[in-house]
């Protein structure tokens, strides 16, 4: 059933405030971070108010409650993704999730199944966010493995015409974004996953821009690892998720060492705990994990299919309205086909930073710059873009205000 975004906004206290001298907040920057509903804010603060104790330690009631809440959150995340609880690793961010993997791969010694050498290849793409590019660049340097990538076509798609030449028989890692944070492009995973598995490579999906916006099921995608962040999913900052297939996680060496991640320790050696605890050294971000569970419960209650449907409709409206603006040039696919509700564009001679500043004066929050995807921006031949990204609390009126703002900026900078 369709939902009313104006009713959704009532769950998000930030929409009660105004911006720049009384303007209504038109928040079009959910691709950077989403706003938070009351239920998430309350779940996080209630953990501190009522249940705070270090999880997996202590013989007292609070420790028990805290552990239940934290492990319950793990269960919630697993159900949300279609995985099992022992496949969910909590991190501080998706960036940490991807770094954890890249470091773990080079931490196991030459007989570990994830160990890479100069005979191997790592595959990424030109549309990766820095968080899913630099960790692999660095792993390539540490291991000697060759870094290769899919090119991006002028219309903002992965160039898969060379799929078999890019994912070569010696490819061990294929790390790709599910949905581009700049272009909105949703990558066709089935063909890529099939080829990767054919050559024995693992597929790592950066799902930061897909998990918040569409139903994502790790089993259906048939991938091996997935990372997403809590704060883009109406959840708190400071919590990220790494999902991995159980049969892979059991062989994945740890990246961070310390408390909680061990089975036993002597003065000279240590035996690791099984996954996921092996990958969660130290006292974790407990309140944030609990807040994330509340966030996923909130999204599930509305329905991910309904959220996807809403954003598809609204995204189409956004693309159409933007293309009516003179001198505005979209980067990325021009139609709502295999793409999400995010639009990046240039506006003639008006620099994105100046446009963003003008929109801000109208209460409109957008992102400007290279969006942490500098190689992509270069490939597209633009210095920077302005990005509007939509979520469940946005409606057509928000887009109408944006369009009026853009036209206003043209008048302001053109007429002055």
């Amino acid at each position: 059933m369709a939902f009313d975004p104006r009713e959704v906004r009532q769950d998000f206290p930030i929409f009660e405030r105004t911006i720049r001298d009384g303007k209504r907040l038109v928040y079009l920057d959910s691709g950077a971070t989403s706003q938070k509903p009351n239920s998430v804010i309350e779940a996080e603060s209630n953990f501190y108010r009522r249940h705070n104790a270090a999880v997996h330690r202590g013989a007292h009631q609070l420790a028990e409650e805290a552990t239940d809440a934290y492990e319950g959150a793990r269960e919630t995340v697993a159900n949300f993704l279609g995985g099992s609880a022992d496949e969910i690793i909590f991190t501080k961010s998706a960036t940490e999730s991807l770094n954890l993997l890249a470091y773990a791969f080079s931490n196991g010694g030459s007989d570990n199944r994830f160990n890479l050498t100069s005979a191997d290849r790592i595959v990424v793409s030109e549309m990766e966010h820095h968080a899913n590019l630099i960790p692999w660049q660095q792993l390539s340097r540490r291991s000697g493995a060759e870094l290769a990538w899919f090119a991006v076509t002028p219309d903002g798609r992965l160039d898969l015409s060379t799929l078999a030449e890019i994912i070569t028989p010696n490819t061990k890692v294929v790390a790709l974004t599910h949905q581009s944070n700049v272009l909105g492009t949703v990558n066709p995973m089935a063909a890529i996953v099939a080829r990767a598995h054919e050559v024995g490579a693992v597929v790592i999906l950066d799902a930061c821009q897909s998990v918040p916006h569409m139903p994502v099921n790790v089993k259906e995608l048939d991938i091996d690892f997935l990372a997403f962040s809590g704060h883009k999913t109406v959840g708190p900052t400071g919590i990220g998720v790494l999902w991995g297939r159980a049969e892979l996680l059991k062989d994945l060496p740890p990246f961070l060492f310390g408390g909680s991640m061990i089975e036993s320790v002597t003065m000279t050696d240590a035996v690791w705990a099984p996954a996921p605890r092996r990958h969660e050294a130290g006292v974790p971000n407990m309140a944030q994990a609990v807040g994330l569970a509340a966030a996923l419960d909130y999204l599930a209650a509305i329905g991910m299919a309904e959220i996807y449907e809403h954003e598809q409709k609204l995204g189409g409206y956004l693309l159409n309205r933007l293309q009516e603006v003179p001198e505005l040039k979209l980067v990325g696919p021009l139609k709502m086909l295999d793409r999400g509700a995010v639009a990046s564009f240039t506006l003639g001679e008006i620099h994105p930073h100046d446009l963003g500043q003008f929109l801000d004066s109208q209460g409109i929050a957008v992102r400007t710059g290279h969006h942490c995807a500098w190689p992509l921006t270069r490939k597209l031949g633009v210095q920077a873009t302005t990005r509007a990204s939509l979520y469940l609390y946005n409606d057509q009126q928000d887009i109408d205000v944006l369009i009026a703002g853009i036209l206003g900026a043209q008048q302001y900078f053109g007429g002055k």
Partner: protein, 146 residues
Amino acid sequence: MQLDSLYQEVILDHYKRPQHKGLAATYDAQVHHVNPSCGDEITLNVALDGDKVVAITWDGVGCSISQASVSILSDLLLNKSVAEADLILNTFTELMQSKGTMVGDDAILEDAVAMAGVSKFPARIKCALLGWMAYKDAVVQAQAKL
């Protein structure tokens, strides 16, 4: 509207008609500075004659604030002694860090006082300083060669 305090006429004039844009073929030092948060880039050439700044030329891409600011400085610091230019640079930096509490001394800063409004917008201070930091870097390198 508050926006007008940021986008002063002088700034938009320099943005539309930049001064000393286009790199001179000869120089004592060339630097390339980038604002990593937005991708703005400036290449700046400096030539010295003794302790006098005899040429500042530049090329770049970026927002109106970063481009106007480098245009203003390339005019303002030209034919000054390095010490005079330093004083102006320090005065300008102080103004940028004033969070809107200073109006700027136009006897020293001339056109650059138009940038005063930028100090109220924390995200834009780096834009305004990009060219100035490039100049500072270039002069140090040029002096090292003397």
